[in-house]
């Protein structure tokens, strides 16, 4: 797993400690361009920590993260975004006092896109994800599921979006919205070549959406492969059933 291969994202011996607690332990993982990768594992296995490490919110205790061959683990969150990496949060974090449309415009503005052009794309995305009629609502008025959806759709405003990290996007979301989410992800992956890393506990959705799965346990990568391979891996079964 060196940086010489053509993987899009690659972590090398990534470790993160919080005092005595080792949240991520010597993790080496790589993503190919164009994949939709699932990231599963029991609670506390380090999935969110990994997301935070990649997106620049945490700095690793040791190890590196490479994106398109370039080292990114020392960058600030803004810097990471400017590489073309976006992420969502487990709890939908929007700009509550701003309207849905204004929320959408921000990622485009930071790229230097003008208001008219950005609004155009925003409307397209909002309409596709059935949020169009809420454009001028303050974001805090949205339901939980709509917030998650908006969070996801907001990330697509960044062009080009190369890597998108989704942290538990389906948690507590209405089935119809889940459908919209999946369709949107697939469309973006197909049409604009966005690579995804999706953390989720909902294995049926993960099977439906993701091509490959990585399994974490105790901060370590214990298995990787297609859903079938991983599901039959005794280590995985152990980790979910055992402790």
């Amino acid at each position: 797993m060196g940086r010489t291969n053509n993987s899009l994202l690659c972590t090398e011996n990534l470790t993160k400690d919080f005092g005595k607690l080792r949240a991520v332990d010597n993790l080496s993982l790589s993503l190919e361009e164009g994949e939709i990768r699932g990231l599963i594992g029991p609670n506390g296995s380090g999935k969110t920590t990994l997301m935070n490490l990649i997106s620049g919110i945490y700095k690793p205790t040791s190890g590196e993260v490479y994106f398109s061959g370039k080292r990114i683990d020392r960058l600030s969150p803004e810097g990471i975004t400017h590489q073309g990496i976006m992420r969502t949060f487990q709890v939908a974090r929007l700009f509550g006092d701003m309207t849905v449309l204004e929320n959408m415009l921000i990622p485009a503005f930071t790229q230097g896109t003008g208001k008219r052009e950005a609004s155009h794309r925003a409307k397209e995305l909002l309409d596709f994800s059935l949020l169009g009629r809420l454009s001028h609502e303050p974001a805090r008025n949205l339901s939980g599921g709509q917030c998650m959806l908006l969070q996801i759709v907001r990330g697509f405003m960044r062009q080009p979006l190369r890597l998108y990290l989704l942290d538990e996007p389906f948690a507590g979301v209405h089935p119809t919205i889940k459908d919209v989410m999946i369709r949107t992800v697939q469309k973006m992956n197909r049409e604009e070549g966005v690579t995804f890393l999706v953390v989720s506990h909902e294995l049926t959705l993960v099977r439906r959406l993701c091509t490959r799965i990585s399994v974490l346990h105790g901060g370590r990568l214990i298995s990787e492969g297609t859903m079938k391979e991983v599901a039959n891996d005794p280590r995985v079964i152990d980790s979910y059933l055992g402790g």
Binding site: T81, M86, I106
Partner: protein, 320 residues
């Protein structure tokens, strides 16, 4: 829907603007002074609203920047005999610089610590100004040459401060509509997410600090040259409380809110001057009531009114 409310704003504000512009011809010197001071507070309130209301950096040092600007200009003019416009420039430079320094210091602080730190800063400035009485004449007050060839003509000053207030409000308005406006509002809502969206939070926070402190500094400088006297009372916490009161009652996070709040409170303060402390009690109660019950302040009421009116209009016209 948006067009209707914009038209309503214009139709309301035009007659008001006319009144304001022609005021000197109707009233005597006392009220002229009250309004002049009111406009001074409009500048302070609006600029504080930028950093505290829109960017979410609850600075309690705003009055200190006005004082820094005021004293900088006054000292330069009295001690070195420089022309007033140079003093004003110096005021701008010094308050902007201090704003920058304070902004940098406060970058990583959480909201609560920011308030404490800025408050400590302001108090330090106050004590400093008091203690260096050899230069600043401390509590006795620093005599300042008046503007307009030492005459400080009331009418001219009225228009001067009116102009300052108008320019300030315009600047804040333009900033709010621009990308910067989006960025600082995002920062206030959720700084981490703002950064994840690509906003260089540090840059914009400092920028916001600089702009608001610079404006305050200029205002303070002009105030000095208008009033003829500067004392460290300017940096009393009461002044900051006033600014907060004005913005909260008028409507935090609105363009017209600080304007309304500043003018309203200043007029009330002057009118009821003989009641002394009761004024402050009433103001404090009003602030508590508004913060507790109706967060948006006076502007919130106005907005609701406008929406209600245009809503009824639409219903009557049969628009869905």
């Amino acid at each position: 829907m948006k067009k209707i409310s914009e038209l309503k704003w214009y139709s309301l504000s035009l007659p008001l603007c006319l009144v304001v512009c022609l005021l000197p011809f109707w009233t005597g010197p006392y009220y002229l002074q009250v309004f002049t001071i009111a406009f001074y507070y409009v500048v302070l309130a609006s600029s504080w609203n930028l950093i505290a209301g829109y960017t979410g950096q609850f600075s309690l040092a705003h009055h200190a920047f006005a004082a820094i600007g005021g004293y900088a200009s006054a000292l330069l003019v009295t001690l070195f005999g420089l022309p007033i416009w140079m003093g004003i420039l110096a005021a701008l430079l010094s308050s902007t610089l201090m704003g920058f320094i304070l902004g940098v210091l406060c970058l990583r602080m959480r909201a609560i610590y920011l308030a404490i730190a800025t408050w400590a800063f302001a108090e330090s400035v106050r004590i400093f100004l008091s203690m260096t009485y050899k230069i600043t004449r401390g509590d006795l007050g620093l005599a300042v040459p008046k503007i307009f060839l030492g005459t400080g003509r009331a009418v001219a000053c009225y228009y001067l401060f009116l102009g300052l207030a108008a320019v300030t409000v315009l600047v804040i308005f333009l900033i709010n509509r621009s990308k910067m406006g989006y960025y600082i509002r995002a920062i206030r809502n959720d700084e981490m997410v703002a950064r994840v969206m690509g906003i260089h939070a540090t840059r914009w926070k400092i920028f916001s600090f600089i702009i608001s402190s610079g404006i305050a500094g200029i205002a303070g400088a002009f105030y000095g040259h208008y009033n003829g006297l500067l004392t460290p009372v300017m940096v009393d916490f009461n002044e900051m409380a006033f600014i907060v009161i004005m913005v909260v009652i008028g409507g935090i996070r609105s363009i017209a809110g600080p304007v309304i709040g500043a003018i309203f409170i200043e007029i009330l303060t002057e009118t009821f001057r003989e009641f002394g402390e009761i004024r402050m009690v009433v103001f404090a109660l009003a602030v508590i009531a508004i913060a507790r019950l109706y967060h948006e302040g006076a502007m919130g009421v106005v907005r609701r009114l406008v929406r209600w009116i245009s809503g009824r209009k639409q219903a009557r016209e049969g628009v869905t």
